[in-house]
Amino acid sequence: MDLYDVIVIGAGVSGCAVARELARRDARVLVVERADDVCCGTSKANSAIVHAGFDAQPGSLMAKLNVEGNRLMYEWAQELNFGVIPVGSLVVCVSEDTRDGLTALLERGRANGVPDLRIIERDELVQMEPNIADEAVAALWAPTGGIVDCFGLTIALAENAVANGVEFAFNQQVVDVRRDGDAWLVVTPQATLRTRAVVNAAGVYADDIHNLVAQPDDALRIVARKGEYYLLDTTAGAHVRHTVFMLPSAMGKGVLVSPTVHGNLIVGPTALDVDDKEATNTTPDGLAQVASKCSLTVKDVPLREVITTFAGLRAHQDAHDFRIGEVAGAPHFYDCAAIESPGLTSAPAIGVMVAGLVADGLGLADKPAGAFDPTRPGYANLNIIDFDAWGRLCEQDPAYGNIICRCCRVSEAQIVDTIHRNPGARSLDAVKRRTGATMGRCQGGFCTPKIMEILERELGMDAREITKRGPGSELVLGLNKDAVADPSAKEGGEA
């Protein structure tokens, strides 16, 4: 049986960051993922915020990795070409009674090492955010806060990992991990894989994986904490210019209102612990909460411009800190667990940290100088390109002139590109995450059939095999009249 050096369980943003950082080492690395693509769990449905780092408890792992992750995020965006915009964030105080809270947050942020924090008064706040609520009295301004394309980040990490030798296995759910001599066996319904080390980056299921190998007194419990969101059309994208949080007050905790890197406006989330770790459904209550809470900090949020609503599940544990490190009594089994907010921001730092632990544990050497390429080409973005540059792209590849998704301006060339990269898009949502196609105001109404056709053509698949997001989510269930009884067939047929 083949022996891997490291198997990473889970191809979310943490798993992909770890894999990408492990790719700097001389090691055979495999990422095993139950879904058909990277970025299919918590990583795909969250606020997509680059947190500045003032929120976490000083001295916690969260605080350290958030601030470090924030710094790395902007650096990595340069070499990996994913979308990140340092719009800055505001924590808005809506009552003089809670102003102390704002000062405390400022001090906590400074203790965490967040740069350039300051408190701004209402006049300046209104200048910065004309739509801020009338009740707003002051805010904490964090210029290092930002917004990120959470899909783009995860995919960039995965592509760069593959380009540097990491392997991925999709549609394989890990059902068991057990010791086998000096190694671990990672069992999926399709295969039993042997590896020297395991990284548990299984998101909301990281407790199940952890508990397979941990000692009884070291059990982990991850709770799925649901967050529901509204995503508004790009016509509403400029309603706020920064990420606007609310300072918790007697009115409650509030929700964030923020532009997104795709130019939309995101509003949410709620926070409700749920038993079902698959419960990514929105609910009447949750959506109503978001709708009412957003007005606490921002006025006239144009909710009628909604183009979709969604829910994500955070991997919460009661201790409310990341759980990173070797599991006691399980040599070379490393948890990368309980990665809840600010987990996305922290991902680069988590990747560096976990890869470091594994490399030290296994004694992995760095690849020779120049053998690791940290750069990854991005996808063309026809929304920000100027027309002359677009024209030059068309000269190289006429398919850049064939617009498939009109709302988000995605051409055939970009979609073909997603399919032929590695890991490549195999489903409609995989194309969506890489290009933004179907994410616009018509929500795939016009482009879904066209993207299906491109997937069919490029992958040599039948329409009935094309899925939204992997097996079980087939987009069409048959062909016209395939279940209509044909009486003429009995008579020998016609035409």
Binding site: N480, K481, S488, A489, E494, A495
Partner: protein, 122 residues
């Protein structure tokens, strides 16, 4: 037994509300509420021998772009025969080139009505 039927005319988008009177033998004595002669005819047909035009599509092979060619029954067919027409078309494939008006199936499902193409496939 004399009776009255209230119908919505489907002959044009106006959707006139028709009242059709029938005598003891089931013969139509009057149609009112219509705005045109087509409506009067619809009223009479609908209570005696309701008819429909069937529109659907067929796969086409050999065309440069089209996968399907749209079709219709050249004229109305009895309403009770609509699913027979559909069933008769199941499994049939047209061969390009097809032009609007081309007869693709003769006398479909014994209705005496032909099925013709309503789109071009070259």
């Amino acid at each position: 037994m004399a009776q009255t039927r209230e119908l919505t005319c489907i002959r044009c988008p106006m959707g006139c509300a028709l009242t059709v009177e029938l005598d003891d033998s089931g013969a139509v004595t009057s149609v009112t509420g219509n705005s045109c002669p087509r409506g009067a005819q619809y009223g009479r047909d609908e209570v005696t021998n309701p008819v429909r035009t069937v529109t659907t599509s067929m796969p086409v092979v050999g065309a440069s772009h089209a996968h399907m060619v749209s079709v219709k029954t050249q004229t109305d067919v009895p309403k009770g025969k609509v699913f027979d027409v559909i069933a008769a078309l199941a499994g049939l494939t047209a061969q390009a080139p097809v032009a609007i008006g081309d007869v693709l199936v003769h006398d479909v499902a014994g209705t005496g009505v032909d099925v013709v193409a309503t789109s071009n496939a070259r």
